[in-house]
Amino acid sequence: MARFPRLRSLTLKGKPHFADFNLVPHDWGGYARPWIEALARGCPELEELRLKRMVITDECLELLARSFPNFRALFLVSCDGFSTDGLAAIATHCRHLRELDLHENEVDDRGEWLSCFPESSTSLVSLNFACLKGEVNAAALERLVARCTNLRSLWMNRSVSLEMLSRIVSKAPHLEDLGTGSYVHDPHSESYHNLINAFLNCKSIKSLSGFWDVAPRCLPAVYPICSQLAYLNLSYAATIQADDLINMIGHCTKLQKLWVLDCIGDKGLAVVASRCKQLEELRVFPSDPFGHGTIDSVTEEGLVSISSGCPGSTRCSLITIAKNCPNFVRFRLCILSPKKPDPLTHRPLDEGFGAIVQSCRGLRRLSVSGLLTDQVFLYIGKYAKKLEMLSVAFAGDSDKGMLYLLNGCRSLRKLEIRDCPFGDAALLKGVGRYEAMRSLWMSSCEVTLRGCQALAAMAPRLNVEIMHEEEEDAGGISCGGGLDDAQRVEKMYLYRTLAGPRSDAPSNLFTL
């Protein structure tokens, strides 16, 4: 920090991506404290801080709030370790706060914080508290919205009722982004009637989200703004049925980004394809990821209707998507059952993903799934020259697969692999690549302690961290303690470093 005393904005990312899926120990690291303390000492002009997958405490938030007189924007994404008390500190002390964006964090609910914004505070432009689980003070929120005349983005949490929504929206007709709370009410009520009128006044709303607990009969209030929408997120709305979704989306002719649950079904996706001509991003989430549900969800047909083509075969679907959507920058397909072959041919999906990478030359991010052999990696290595991030699970046959990737994907920055048969030979052959990459994650593969040690010895500017769940001797791994050299390592995470091994690692994590 001493080198950058005039620092205005800092972005930090902590834990590996797979932490989102509980694959990383809770105490892995990514603590914000040392950073905030250093910033407090050395960078008084800090205005903006963005943290992703880090651990930040209420004390840190308090320190942050008090240390930077010009502080304007705080973005916390997928972080944890703090509570609403920390938010209260931010609200209280950051006089010029313009943006407070809490996206998918784990936040403890300890009560009031919204009412901590002083009555004199009118600077908010963007406020996102959708991830909070507790109640918010309705009156305080209304007053805040009323006095912050520059407020353009507001994402509220589930506790906000439709009644509150109607009062808030009528006070903020200039909103551009809106996240509702629970969208349930009696459609014959006065509140609902007020909401209809409020929405009619909102000419600027371009993005809509929220819709927790939806009463489908209340959806029509939203139709008048649907035609303006560029982004619609209905992925929390487990109570909307396909027909209601279709009715709503039918109005969204300018949609560029749609997040939806798979109960939209193939029919719904066909409607999306026909009505949303400007669609650039589509994310379909499972409404029933572990059940053997009876929901008519998305199948290859739906997938294919987005790009037109033949039904029944995932491979054909992928090929057709590739042909029709060469502009894709990100393509992430997760087939629920690992190693699932093409349902029509019962063959691997290598050709399908091969078609994607051959056609989508600008592809920057890719996740593959289903039954895949080394062949798919050959294709990816050959064609995906712009690929920066790749996620692989339950795929490949041998080290060749990984080598194709490391040799071919020259732009690769992040590679995360789980449950693949890649071992030490591939790991070691790639040593020339890792310093040019941000990180490599391998879990439940064939990599052994010996291989990791050899790699660490070859590459002093890499931190090779291994995580092992089993009981360790006091001797620890560096002495060959509980873990046999030839034993497979459960989780390995390596990244380049100028600072050497870190000191905040948990006890079952060793840097070689």
């Binding site: 797979f18 899926f21 609910d109 349930v184 009696d186 927790w212 607990d213 009463a215 487990a238 649950l261 798979d262 066909a270 026909s274 001509k277 650039e280 991003e281 589509l282 379909v284 989430f285 499972p286 409404s287 029933d288 990821p289 572990f290 059940g291 053997h292 009876t294 998305v298 199948t299 290859e300 790009s307 037109s308 083509g309 033949c310 090929i319 057709t320 590739a322 042909k323 029709n324 959507c325 502009n327 894709f328 920058v329 990100r330 992430r332 397909l333 997760c334 629920l336 059952s337 690992p338 699932k340 349902p343 691997p348 050709e351 091969g354 078609a355 051959q358 052999t373 062949q375 046959d397």
Partner: protein
């Protein structure tokens, strides 16, 4: 290692011809820098039509646009009709950690309604039928004592007992007013022309009390259990006259059942 024959036309029925990608077995590193013709795709005449009647050629629209685009299809469960038993499409028998890769807060969306964080979700066991609720409604019949015609109410459209109470109020206000209009004796009541609210359904203070029949056939007072437990258990609702409730509690009276004929007395006394 399973041999996969790459390349070559494998056109099967209406499937598009395969793009002629690198043939199997070749070591790509020997290849020159792309002199070979991998672009067989350009020569293919793929039929690109939307499956909708009168649909425009979506592809034509796409070609005009250059913006980067993103397709993130989270999940692709296979329909049972594709000759696979539902067993095949189920998750592996021993749960795989961190699979499927979705954030934890999304896992319980289908069944959790708004409740205090400390209340454990009842959706931990994927075998339970609750998980199959998913996007399905929960419509139950509701009858009001003294009203020959019942209504249906969607419990899942509400997130609390208070909301249920208001919804019930809304459902029956119209019917009550209609019934009053039919009966001249009631028209001159002091209620005037305004619809009166039905209140006190949950605390016994009103003219009617809300009860429900659970999946075991028992009749219970509404309001004792957490909301989403109630939603899962309630099969029918009934607005019992509060006076009848107290009389049914004496030993000699039969328990109120959902099959007893509605009260003949057309007079509904509404709490102001």
């Amino acid at each position: 290692m399973e041999a996969v024959s790459g390349g070559g036309a494998r056109g099967r029925g209406s499937c598009p011809k395969l793009l002629d990608l690198i043939p199997n077995g070749g070591d790509w590193s020997e290849r020159d820098g792309g002199q070979r013709d991998y672009g067989v795709a350009e020569e293919q005449k793929l039929e690109l039509r939307l499956g909708l009647p009168g649909g425009e050629d979506w592809r034509a629209v796409r070609e005009e646009e250059e913006p980067p685009s993103v397709l993130s299809l989270g999940f692709l469960p296979v329909r049972a009709s594709s000759n696979l038993s539902s067993h095949d499409r189920a998750a592996p028998s021993s749960p795989v950690v961190g699979w499927p890769p979705i954030r934890s807060f999304r896992k319980n969306l289908a069944s959790s309604s708004f409740s205090k964080p400390s209340y454990p979700s009842q959706n931990e066991n994927p075998g339970k039928t609750d998980t199959q609720e998913g996007c399905r409604k929960s419509l139950v019949k509701i009858n009001m004592d003294g009203m020959p015609i019942g209504r249906k109410i969607d419990l899942k459209a509400h997130s609390s007992y208070d909301e249920l109470s208001s919804a019930v109020n809304e459902l029956f206000r119209g019917l009550i007013a209609a019934q009053r209009n039919e009966n001249p004796a009631l028209r001159n009541q002091s209620h005037g022309g305004r619809r009166q609210a039905i209140t006190g359904l949950l605390d016994g203070s009103g003219e009617h009390t809300l009860v429900y029949e659970d999946n075991e056939g028992d009749v219970l007072l509404v309001g004792d259990v957490p909301w989403d437990m109630f939603v899962a258990a309630a099969k029918r609702l009934r607005m019992l006259k509060s006076s009848e409730l107290s009389s049914s509690l004496s030993v000699s009276s039969p328990m109120p059942t959902f099959n007893s004929p509605p009260d003949d007395d057309p007079l509904i006394l509404l709490k102001l």
